[in-house]
């Protein structure tokens, strides 16, 4: 496809996203904020997936970041922006420690441990009543930026920009080669000098830090955190579904997946209250069964076939 056309489209989409508060009402803006949040999480999940590692721990790091921000404000007296910066630092540091322990695991073993860790974080915060507020959670004095819907939307958009930038950087840098080689064949990767553990650790820390940042943004946008809200399994499952639908191992896949799934679920919620989750589940099953590379993978395959004919 024409590179300039793609660039123009990306620019137009960016301009539309930034200017959305100028013409969208409160409800569409709220929907957009959700879509953006999940899009960013889906990108971070996919970045680690490019190495072949499937994490079920997104909600864990997201929740850690959320509590880092909330407790940073309430217990350490941090300002709003400092508390936001603290979230990725804390989540990243936690990921560094955890990564040392679990990044020698592979496949199912890695996935299950990440799932268990997310649950452990939730339970610990649930039970450290005096410090974390326990099951009732913690409430901030107010939301950031005076609670302006537009400003909070832009803040979330900023979180997405970080995730998009990181994902794009992963595609264009040595990360692309390291992670793809690890995913394809670890033995061959080692023989070509790839320090597998180091690249996995770097990827895990970076993606976890971004997940933590998004958790911090979430808390600052809503003004409260409870173990059940910020460690919600949806923060793990929806990003996964989004990336699978849109197309894994890419930046563009999760972007389209989030828009499609986000908007369709909003629409379904209005048509079929509660029933929308069933339809949602069906979409995911169909995608996994019939197009394991997602919509983007399907498009790429079609494009390649067309090129093959043209040759």
């Amino acid at each position: 496809m024409n590179r300039n056309l793609l660039r123009a489209l990306a620019f137009a989409a960016g301009a539309l996203a930034v200017s959305l508060p100028a013409f969208a009402g409160a409800y569409p803006l709220q929907v957009a904020r959700n879509v953006i949040m999940y899009m960013a999480l889906a990108l971070t999940w996919d970045m680690l997936l490019r190495s072949g590692q499937i994490s079920f721990g997104i909600a864990g790091l997201f929740g850690l970041g959320a509590y880092a921000t909330a407790l940073g404000v309430l217990r350490a007296g941090m300002g709003d922006w400092l508390s936001l910066a603290f979230a990725p630092v804390f989540a990243g540091a936690a990921a560094l420690l955890i990564g040392f322990l679990i990044l020698r695991l592979r496949a199912m073993y890695f996935s299950i441990v990440t799932l268990a860790l997310a649950e452990i974080f939730r339970i610990v915060i649930h039970n450290l009543h005096d410090f974390t507020g326990g099951p009732e959670g913690v409430v901030l004095d107010g939301v950031m930026l005076g609670g302006s819907a537009a400003a909070l939307y832009w803040l979330t958009l900023g979180g997405l920009a970080v995730a998009l930038g990181a994902s794009w950087w992963f595609e264009k840098s040595k990360f692309h080669f390291a992670l793809t080689a690890i995913r394809n064949n670890e033995t061959a990767a080692r023989s070509s000098g790839v320090d597998i553990f180091r690249w996995l650790l770097a990827t895990f820390v970076i993606t976890s830090a971004i997940q933590g940042l998004l958790g911090g943004i979430y808390v600052q946008s809503y003004g409260f955190a409870t173990p059940d809200s910020v460690f919600d399994a949806n923060f793990t499952l929806l990003p996964l579904a989004i990336a699978l639908l849109g197309g894994i191992h890419s930046t563009i896949g999760p972007v389209f997946g989030a828009i499609l799934l986000g908007l369709s679920s909003e629409w379904l919620k209005l048509r079929l209250p509660y029933g929308h989750l069933v339809v949602y589940g069906v979409i995911i099953v169909v995608v996994i069964l019939f197009m394991p590379q997602g919509l983007y993978g399907l498009a790429r395959k079609g494009l390649r076939r067309a090129e093959g004919r043209a040759e």
Partner: protein
Amino acid sequence: MTKLKTEHLTRAFLGLVAVNDVSFSMDEGEILGIIGPNGAGKTTFINLVSGIIMPSSGRVEYKGRDVTYMPAHERARLGIARTYQLIHPLENLSLIENVMVGSIFARRHGLKTARAKAAGLCESLGLSGLDRDTSRLTILEIKKMEIARALANEPEVLFLDEVMAGLNADETRELIAQVQTIARERKLAVGVVEHVMGVIKELTHRVIVLEAGELIAEGPYEQVSKNPRVIEAYLGGAA
């Protein structure tokens, strides 16, 4: 000059001794054949010297330095490269990107330098259509790509584990000539595992013979091929 040497190298898998007390050395510019019947421990031996698995006992020395327990990726950076008996293409990377991997990680070149170097290596092996998917390559092209990827490490020692297997006579002849040229130009020490004795005879200066993990003979091919113990290993006791 001795590039690589092992002393009493041994590896046992749950009682099965796959490589047993093997001592050998390889010199600069030398092409060494590693032969022996199936299950003799040839691939395990290469896995041990390249760091893919660790020995039970013994020692591996690279240019006088003890590398016995050094991880594979560090040995790759130091200058030990290899290909695999079962092809290992990196399927989600293109032909040239596969080759770049060695340059990027073993030599820590930037992507631009790595691409230029990879293009040069591909050309020297007669590879074209560098942006193709690996799924579109012939078996000969994949084998060449894997040799190029190993050479992208800029190694001083290179092991080729049955690279000629599955190639026809013309392809084999072409690849033998290319390996000889590369070894000479880069002053490589090359270890070659092959089952086709014609290839060993043509390509190697010296041969070591493994049987049941043990080194049973060593010398030029013409001499080793007449060794009664080697003949017995290949043909069985009845011969």
